[in-house]
Symmetry: C2
Subunit: 227 residues, 2 copies
DNA sequence: GCAAAAGTGTTGTGTATACACCCATGT
DNA sequence: ACATGGGTGTATACACAACACTTTTGC
């Protein structure tokens, strides 16, 4: 860090969030349709300017609350994007975060600055403003890499879930199919799942057992790793 | 990203670099002794303000060239630190990078803004200004994690090196000892090493064979992984 | 009783680990 | 000849991958 603090011009700084959601079938990203230039009426990930009295996390939470109606969700810093021309108006840095939410717990609503807030499957993204396509791509890579050595996937599911649902989530994130017996063996022997003893009823087949994520059992676990 | 571009106050942004060096024995970090307040005469990692026409990488290279005499080295973005009070003067964000260099290829020299530029072994760091102790800690974790799935360690060595030297580097980074035969087996079967056919002479024991990193062989290799 | 998904073990294959001696060189 | 680090192979344990049938439930 430089010693002097002469008044160099300073860039604007935004916090932008890649919010992943999973509806039981598809992995989606939350996008917002812009009302104003630049990129008017195009889609972008939700973001906004950092205020001087805010940490990045505070900004991210404010943005997600006001622009999409999301509160208190899992957030992690992804990368900071700083290409000189990434905003056509002036120099704007973007500290990108990624987030995982269970869409059924929230009703996304567009804030003032947006026409609409909507979930888009990763495979059907519209044209995106700024460098947000790249941001999403980096986020997806990170999610893929991360899910195998940290039990973060649970953020995307209901509190109680079946092993088949969990497996399908992993298959969706990793974009590959997984052997059922091997998956169950591995995930159970990590010890992070708690069998609730309950079963999901009302399905038109054998009632599957419901599990929960056991946060305490994970704390301090060094060797969580699937595959 | 927000639609409106009202003139919010903007934070200052610095790029700070954790530069690792390895002298054949010890893993060290390059530090600079400050001339001015705050943290006058304390040590910090080299850094400086981002200029409006610079990318982060450009800034990092400028800083390293002017403050420490280093040029064209391996750089990777680490994390962005934004705690509100991390600089006592005003709001300053730090986009941190980490770098790997072979100290014997460079003569570090203090620039104008520093009393001195000096290598400190990781185990003997002085009291550090700002939040730089945390930054170094994060960088060390990253280096540890990264070295096992990407062949970045070579940046720290001479162009030609012996397997024993390479092993010792890995042991130093990972802070654990490694079985010699297993290490050789694994690193050789990755295929990223090229035996030069030369031997290091003038040592007071059997002349060891010299290897080089084979960049072409690594390109496109998906499965580089040690341990 | 049929359709549909849940649940369950074993075996082979490959990878990781542990381990000890001879070789080449300089002094 | 001796001291120093260089260089090499095998046996065992463990982890991973492949694989098919029975059970439960709703209709």
């Amino acid at each position: 860090m430089s010693n002097d603090l002469h008044n160099y011009p300073t860039p604007s700084v935004t916090v932008d969030c890649v919010v992943f959601g999973y509806d039981g079938t598809t992995l989606s990203v939350l996008l917002i349709q812009r009302k104003e230039a630049p990129f008017e009426s195009m889609w972008t990930i939700p973001g906004g300017f950092l205020w001087m009295e805010e940490t990045f996390e505070t900004t991210a939470n404010r943005i997600l609350a006001t622009k999409a109606g999301l509160q208190g969700i899992f957030l992690e810093q992804l990368y900071t994007f700083g290409a000189i021309e990434r905003d056509p108006r002036k120099r704007v840095l973007s500290v990108a975060y990624f987030a995982l939410v269970n869409p059924s717990n929230y009703q996304v609503v567009a804030g003032d600055a947006a026409h609409e807030a909507k979930w888009f499957p990763l495979s059907e993204l519209p044209a995106l403003g700024f460098d947000h396509q790249e941001v999403i791509q980096v986020a997806q890579q990170r999610l893929k890499a991360k899910v195998i050595y940290q039990p973060i996937g649970f953020e995307l599911l209901d509190e109680q879930f079946t092993l088949t649902e969990l497996q399908h989530l992993y298959e969706t994130i990793l974009e590959q199919s997984i052997d059922k017996r091997n998956f169950r063996k591995k995930i159970l022997e990590t010890g992070v799942l708690k069998n609730t003893g309950l079963k999901r009823t009302g399905v038109k087949n054998r009632a599957p057992e419901l599990y929960e994520f056991n946060k305490e059992a994970y704390q301090g676990k060094v060797n969580f790793s699937l595959f």
